[in-house]
């Protein structure tokens, strides 16, 4: 079954904070892990409320983010959105883990060597 996943990003890394993210990557992953569609969106300004609206409007199944405030975490969970929070690392490495179904909340995955 296809899954729709939103990843909050900062260049080629996972954005450190959900509420301060300015860019998101929306993926559609086939059951076998193939990427069916990939689209990135630049946000007008950072806002956790608007991100939650976007996630619900686009009917996302899961969210991958860095730190997220408890209130938003529980809200998304209540809306039956799976939340992989506390993820640190490069977007490419995170997508690899998503495709293989091995990503977990709090994972620290490798960086692609981007400047700190």
């Amino acid at each position: 079954m296809e899954r729709r996943i939103l990843i909050t990003i900062d260049h080629d890394e996972i954005a450190p904070r959900f509420d301060l993210a300015m860019e998101v990557l929306i993926l559609r992953l086939a059951e076998g892990g193939e990427i069916v569609a990939r689209k990135s969106l630049l946000l007008a300004h950072p806002s956790a409320d608007e991100l939650c609206n976007l996630i619900l409007e686009r009917d996302m199944d899961a969210v991958v983010c860095g730190g997220i405030e408890e209130e938003y975490y529980h809200y998304l969970r209540w809306k039956r959105v799976e939340v992989f929070d506390g993820v640190i690392g490069s977007v490419a490495a995170v997508i690899d883990r998503l495709r293989t179904g091995t990503l977990n909340p709090g994972d620290i995955v490798e960086f692609s060597g981007a400047q700190a």
């Binding site: 904070r17 860095g66 997220i68 408890e70 960086f111 700190a116």
Partner: protein, 377 residues
């Protein structure tokens, strides 16, 4: 990392993040581990913005590649446990034999924020409440008039909340952290009144209310009680921004003046009890608080508001009113306005053991008054 240095950092009560020149975490001290919920070994080598997750670091990193770090300041960070923590972040750059080392000193401001929240809660309890269109209009005006330094004249019957309105405006203004001084201009010998307001220099220097309110707000209640000579001196202050203490020289003071009266100010001016020039200067921003009898929709709201307020304060389980008690309360004209209603509810909640407030829990004078018809909840 020198072990003894880490021991020293661990002993500090503030959080420390030690960074390499690429702003990757070398280590955290114990206070920082506790604040963020990360162990130092877990995050060693990670970019600091992913560990501290501070708004400041993400939006505008205080450490530059060369030169001194930019000044620190208040910001927030997000812990592993999904908690936003208000912090004071101080970036430090040290030059060592092996190159630059960066430090982020992080002070947890949660206790200060809790205290501020508590103080604000206290201020809210003391503020104006009302749901009627007339009160909502006044409440909408508060932030607007608070943004200016022009004097304010508040008119309203006794107990309508003139002092509370003045205080609410002060709290909403840029002068909120400065003093708010109340002074009732009731009957008093002119000489004493002058010293109380403007201060005196002999026999010993004594600051007046104006000096006490320096930088803040001076609220004068019952302004019509002031003798003409003092009113003229207030007018001078409004025109020139100066006052003259008894026996002293004129001095400049930075005070916002608010005044109130229980009588219609135009009537007072016409009767000569309020200097006409002063009236016009004060009435640049004039707010009229309506009596409770002219906003009956507020009575029901205030009865429940103060019932809950006093039940909480007195730790009692008071659920509401019996229909008869409510009918008696609605029939009362409340000549003392909100203050009287508040006093009645404090009495009722004090006397009522639990459950609904019944007629016998109301003050005796309400039980003796003839029942009126017409007003319902």
């Amino acid at each position: 990392m020198n072990v003894s240095l880490l021991d020293i950092l661990d002993a500090l009560p503030v959080g420390c993040v030690v960074l390499d020149p690429h702003r990757r975490v070398r280590t955290l001290n114990a206070a920082m581990e506790s604040l963020l919920g990360y162990a130092r070994d877990e995050v060693a080598g990670l970019p600091c913005r992913h560990v501290l997750r501070s708004r400041r670091c993400i939006q505008n990193c205080p450490h530059t590649s060369d030169g001194a770090p930019s000044p620190g300041g208040r910001t927030d960070c997000l812990s592993r446990h999904r908690r936003i923590i208000p912090i004071n972040l101080t970036p430090v750059r040290l030059t060592t034999d092996q190159g630059a080392v960066y430090l982020d000193i992080v002070e947890d401001l949660s206790p200060i924020h809790s205290l501020e929240a508590r103080l604000n809660q206290t201020a809210t309890e003391d503020s104006l409440v009302g749901r009627s269109p007339a009160m909502e209009r006044i409440l909408r005006l508060v932030p607007m008039v608070a943004g200016h330094s022009a004097p304010i004249l508040i008119a309203g019957e006794t107990g309508t909340g003139k002092g509370r309105l003045a205080h609410a405006i002060h709290k909403a203004s840029a002068r909120a952290r400065q003093p708010f001084i109340r002074f009732s201009c009731g009957p008093m010998a002119e000489e004493i009144l002058e010293a109380e307001l403007f201060g005196k220099t002999a026999p010993a220097p004594q600051p007046g209310r104006f000096q006490q309110a320096q930088g803040g707000t001076l609220y004068l209640a019952e302004i019509e009680s002031l003798p003409p000579s003092i009113q003229a001196r207030l007018l001078r202050f409004l025109d020139e921004g100066t006052i003259q203490p008894q026996g002293g020289h004129p001095m400049r003071v930075d005070v916002r003046l608010m005044a109130s009266t229980m009588t219609d100010p135009a009537t007072l001016a016409a009767a000569g009890r309020l200097c006409e020039n002063l009236f016009h200067r004060l009435a640049a921003l004039r707010l009229d608080l309506p009596p409770l009898r002219e906003r009956p929709e507020d009575v029901a709201f205030l009865l429940h508001y103060f019932r809950e307020h006093f039940a909480q304060r007195l730790k009692k389980n008071i659920s509401g009113f019996t229909p008869k008690a409510l009918s008696m309360l609605h029939a009362h004209p409340f000549p003392g306005n909100v203050r009287e209603l508040k006093n009645i509810m404090e009495f009722a909640v004090l006397v009522c053991p639990e459950g609904d407030v019944r007629p016998e829990h109301l003050p005796g004078y309400l039980l003796r008054q003839p029942q009126r018809r017409g007003r319902k909840e």
